[in-house]
């Protein structure tokens, strides 16, 4: 296995005059389940489409598993992609879909695909157009898995599913990930979807990557500090403020630091993944507000 599944240098994509993704520099090591999280319209789909080769970058470069995305049949065979809304051919039966996969992929694992479909309790002659959203997503995931990719990319796979179908889909995905040791990149605008599944997190807000890293490390280096009111610039230099909120007497900061926090004035609390993501979303909107204010002056 190559050491990094996805490497981007100054990656950017412009639609007309609007940048959907800017200055994206990330390096995702292999063997992770990567959660890509951010609000709607943040550029998640753009990044994933760039990674799967559906889009060409406007700026910068991207390599996936050491190759150019969609650079040829061999590269396509190594990367699986389940698009947003999990599209399938409505007029074709499930068996037709499996046949499609078998004919178009050199490493197709037909036994695995059939087993999965059988486990889901689906019959092979069902037309894909008649399936529920959850079943359709499962068929799309089956196609992605049976291709035996080294990296599986899923764009908002559970967005349209009800909570139960969500949980089943993610559980199926996790089982397959463990069983076949593949890397997964999964996007969602809901942190709760990713909380149980991901061990690597990328927060994308406003077409920029805010933070990327292993979940454990991120949680270990981010802290919420609560204490008497204080300005952000009076914090130690190695504590990067992610978000700050103040009342008359009290200040709350979310900071990132590698060093332990000794200041007794602070009550230090651990962050959950959700708090972490929200702090970065906050940071971005606060910056926007400041930029807008400066523009007005």
């Amino acid at each position: 296995m190559t050491s990094s599944v996805l490497e981007a240098q100054g990656l950017g994509k412009k639609y007309g005059k609007r940048w959907a993704l800017r200055e994206c520099t990330i390096d995702i090591p292999a063997g992770h389940v990567v959660g890509l999280v951010g609000p709607n319209g943040a550029g998640k789909t753009t990044l994933l489409k760039l990674a799967s080769g559906q889009l060409e970058p406007t700026a910068g470069s991207i390599t996936v598993l050491g190759g150019r995305p969609a650079g040829g049949p061999a590269q396509l065979a190594r990367v699986g992609f389940v698009a947003q809304g999990t599209p399938v051919y409505a007029g074709l039966s499930i068996a037709d879909h499996l046949r499609l996969g078998a004919r178009l992929n050199p490493r197709w694992d037909d036994a695995r695909a059939r087993e999965r479909i059988a486990q889901l309790g689906l019959t092979f002659d069902r037309r894909a157009g008649k399936l529920s959203g959850g079943q359709r997503a499962q068929v799309a995931l089956t196609l992605g898995l049976a291709k035996r990719p080294e990296l599986l990319i899923l764009d908002e796979p559970v967005a349209s599913l009800d909570p139960l179908a969500r949980r089943e889909f993610l559980r199926g995905l996790m089982e397959a990930t463990v069983e076949h040791q593949l890397s997964v990149v999964l996007s969602s605008h809901l942190v709760s979807d990713l909380e149980r599944t991901c061990d690597y997190l990328i927060v994308l807000v406003d077409s920029r990557v805010q933070v990327a890293g292993e979940v454990d490390k991120l949680l270990a280096t981010h802290h919420r500090l609560t204490g008497p009111r204080r300005d952000a610039d009076r914090l130690p230099a190695d504590q990067h403020v992610i978000s700050a909120s103040h009342t008359d007497r009290q200040s709350t900061f979310v900071v990132r630091t590698d060093a332990p926090i000794h200041d007794p004035a602070w009550t230090v609390t651990q962050l959950g993944m959700e708090d972490l993501v929200l702090a970065y979303m906050d940071k971005s909107t606060a910056e926007c507000r400041r930029a807008a204010l400066e523009m007005q002056r």
Partner: protein, 353 residues
Amino acid sequence: MIWLTWRQFRGSAAMMAAVLGVLAVALAVTGPGLASAYSAGIADCTTDDTCAGFYNRFFGEYDLPFLALTLGVLILPALIGLFWGAPLITRELEAGTHLLVWNQSITRGRWLAVKLGLTGLVAVAAVGLCGLMVTWWSDPLDKSAAEGMALMAPLVFSARGIAPMGYAAFAFVLGVTVGMVVRRTLPAMALTLAVFAAIQLTLPTMVRPHLVAPVTATFELGMENMESLSIPREGGESPRLFLREAVPGHPGSWVLANELLAPSGQVISGGDGGTGAVINVSSTSGPCAPRNAAPGAGDGCLGEVNRLGYRQQVTYQPLERFWIFQWIETGIYALLTVGLAWLSFWWIRRRLS
């Protein structure tokens, strides 16, 4: 990939096969009868020289199926462009399934090549078969049709021989390319129809007459190239001559320009219709005077008109050029098809996502 393309396409292909099958049976049943009626009629009419009448009668009897078949062959390529070409890619784009299929281990270039190649070949084969069947069936009618409906007449020409195959290939690839650029099925269909119709109207009127330099020749006036020569009953007014869109000795020619020349060599207006051309010959005395208008006297007047030097000047494409024109026109459409196909491959690699 061939399997997938066929799986998606087999419904339309089966429908087309059924329509062609019904048409083939209908034509095969009626065709031989038509051909034998024609040869029997010709055998009869050559003995008493009444073939012009036979042609009229024979064509008149079958003009409805003749027109229907001709129109059918004209429309079929447009239908293929609309219903096979335009939705080929837009259907995938609208359902998002292009993202599914482009992420199998196959490049989109190859995906497009198979879809375009297989569906396109079936389209060309279907229309070609249809065109050739209709050409075979209507052969006796084409031989008896008046000039406006003969083989070289713009509309009939486009529905005979091999040209329909060129139209089909072009319409199909046009639909695919427009669909890829427009990305939505209905607008793509509308635009395909508009562009294809515009080209199908422009080419026969603006380009086809000049594919090979047309022949210009002058002919004496006679029964073949003259509709009528009217001599006013009241004396004083000049006789008027109406030309016919026909070339003496070259039946079935495509007449591009038809004029009446005065003895001086100048063109007299109105010769090819409307009010007719005024012939400057005395109608009070001599062969064109109405009092001489006994049966057969018109011939004398016509002789006088010819003697004075009035001539038909006609620019035309003779019927013998039918196959040359068919090949050239099919070639033009083949080139357009190749150009559009190249554009579609470029577009799917560079612009489509």
